[in-house]
Symmetry: D4
Subunit: 149 residues, 8 copies
């Protein structure tokens, strides 16, 4: 059994690397959005031409990024969505909803402060974790049947 | 042609009433989440029994509310999602993602301040509006072919 | 909003009547399997001809009953599955799995003794209740936003 | 032609090993749930944190196990579900219903005592067998066209 | 519960009338193909223009008839397919396969002579009957829970 | 049997009226795009705000019109697409492809000059007609089994 | 591009070998039903136990064969169905209907005598051929763009 | 991540080669229709027999080509559709509609003259480009996160 896992959400800490490193040796294929913030914001206009209006500048970029996001979520068995401490992160919640509607197994990763605000998102998940290492433990258990410790 | 419309998101202003009032006489069937904040938070424990942990208190409520939300989105032709000025509103973005994955026609309603933060959500929409009256105008145009003014 | 609800499972107590009576005045359409045990067991051979082997006697009946069960689950927004005190009730768990795979909102109804044995079934549900009156409370809340008491 | 087969149900005898051993040399990819009973019961709390209530302890584990079960059933061409002599085994019947709704080819494996109680489950199956060796015979026939003996 | 039933297959006896008459008073909506043989054969060229080649004459008619057949099968809860004594009746078997792939409940109606030749078709059915009255008995049982006699 | 029919394509002649008039008395529900050319072009900016760039002006309008088009095609049993003598009419061919992928019954309406250019579109259709009256004849035949003349 | 092709229907001539031989060197993966007539008829009872009634003998075999047929059709890009000179061959027409409902590309292979009787089946196909060599020509053209001669 | 890309539309310039060459080294699998115009027009009659009527000549060819087109679009993650300067190109718009209904990521490629005529097609796309090199830039960005320049 190979698990394909999409790592969605917060891009300002190294949580993806922690999961990918921790999962070394497991039969997992990881995908992620582009996490270079500037490239992600500007990809639309850099490739398809400048826009006067900020709205269309953003729109073009969001559409190009959607090619990657859709592919990543559609191919995934498991979608991990991390909510960080800051920002609105509506794209993370959007991805969680999109994945839920497709019947993907959701793992939500967030600190205790967001518990109440994320209750609808958590309610759609099969696991809610605080630390990237717990996601690794889940992947190892799902693939190998082995618990930590 | 009858349009079934689900009104998701912000529950602290009267935007739903404005749309429903404005659409009087149009062949539209509206559905919404429960907008009584206290009832929505406590429905799980009030009906199914108290919980010691706040997390499970919230969880039980979110699950019961999901019965209504899923039905509302699944039955809808059009899903309108409004993002207000305050709060994280992750459930609104989750609903938008859920609706997008099901191929529903999305209308997103928000002020200009949220433009950049909502760019991925807006990119999945067929219309992005600022005022409830614009949603009414869209519904009238879609059903009757008549433009405002 | 009209809810279509399928009442699956245990057929030896009056739990269905309690729910249907309690939900009077709510916009709910209920469906159920045939709850006449003898008719349900013999419908295949009574209509399509006797069988020497008990296995095929049972099989023919189960197939005819499946016409009603499939229709009931496929049309439902909400599937309530009750597990009673006695018997294996594998058809109840089968219906729960079938409904879950179709994305129906599941409500599971059972006493505290079955908690551990039903943990996988409960984990697929949006609500787990002990008493039929709680199911009525959920339906009223989902449709009207009103909590009991 | 490669067959992907998910082996669901009873975990107290070596029936999975019998099938996997018997199918050596056939182009079959087998998947199963975690069959370490203690690990399966405790995976949720061991990874995601302890719970005071047994119900939530069980719930967290069932949810984590569902990641593996869903993946196994979704990927399968054939789902074999075995019902043993003891216990309620509602998760086995739930898996059978889930697989049936997805249109998977079902093989049910049980002794003659369960014939009446499993009639609805058997009615959804393409084969009902008593012995693991018969499942191997079916897999060999389906892949190679060769009958036993 | 309303059942929508499509009556496919043999058009030379009055079996459809027997079922429709027998089901009077039941909540059933029946649909059928056009059973006027000449009209069915010539509808394509009569409406869309003559063809020199018999193959295209037949083709145009089969395509126009497919508009009705697809609608009838797609809308149906139950598809009844009758195989008569004569002719190849490949369209009947085609409809049965089409309905099976869509997950419709199939009832096959044929005399004992065709038992071996129809074994694959029968194996996809929930009921195999010899007489139209048995189909009525099934519909009454499915809707009302009442057995004949 | 009620047929829901979407009339897509050319908006400069009265072909829709001819079909709707001709089908009076038949159990057909017709839907169409907005056929007021100016309103259709400007609906986006009139409702949602002006754009400097013609591209975004067009884009906003096309998105709003898509709410109606998607609803019309999704609800339809039969999609009729007419190609007129002039213009590129790429939206007509787009609608035909969209409808074909959803498994709708397609009727294509065009003059003999377009035969070669439309061969891929015609190949996805169940009927190819030249005159609106032929579409009426098809609808009458499909619903009533009656041929013209 | 690799094409997966399922070869359904007549089992008394070597048409499958002709196609498989002719397609040597093309990127095609072929699947077929079990074509050993005796094994196919008896597989159910040989593996799962004898039956007194011929009907159930046939039924058990048809069900086991369905595991292979479903897998073959579900995995296929192209389904070729051949109708021979003799026998009812209802399973061939059933497979054609099943494949059509799943949106598979159908190629039907039969002699000119069956033209009228197969008109509904042919109408669902993308190609109707008389000789196995034509199927090879189609596969070569689809994969390589090369025409015969 | 491997992207499967279908290149649909205009066949008179070398835009496909430009994209395929430009994407060397990227993990992309390209598919296309047969771009040999004469072979594409005549494939039906060359393989399946001549037709007197040009309509059926065209029809047979379009059907055989559809085997390749359907496979190409169904397998694709991304569908690129190019509209050239000349001809009606209705098959290109049909492919775009077909791909959109299947939820594929669409990239539309056309010059500025077609902007208004293609507004409905562009509105269904995630990117609208003028030059093949921009498509390569998108593929590189989607796969590698790297922007040009």
């Amino acid at each position: 059994m190979t698990l394909t896992v999409y790592l969605s959400g917060e891009i300002h800490t190294d949580w993806r690397d922690q999961i990918i490193d921790g999962a070394k040796g497991l039969d997992v294929q990881f995908n992620s959005p582009v996490t270079d913030h500037a490239a992600s914001d500007d990809c639309g206009v850099k490739i398809l031409g400048a826009e006067d209006q900020k709205y269309w500048h953003d729109h073009k970029g969001a559409m190009v990024n959607a090619i990657r996001t859709r592919k990543g979520i559609t191919d995934a068995d498991v979608v991990v969505v991390r909510f960080g401490e800051k920002y609105k992160q509506w794209n993370a919640a959007f991805d969680a909803g999109y994945a839920a509607a497709l019947g993907k197994s959701l793992i939500i990763l967030h600190g205790p402060d967001h518990q109440h605000a994320l209750k609808e998102v958590d309610a759609a998940a099969l696991a809610v974790a605080e630390h990237p290492a717990q996601v690794v433990d889940i992947l190892r258990y799902v693939l190998m049947g082995k618990l930590p410790g």
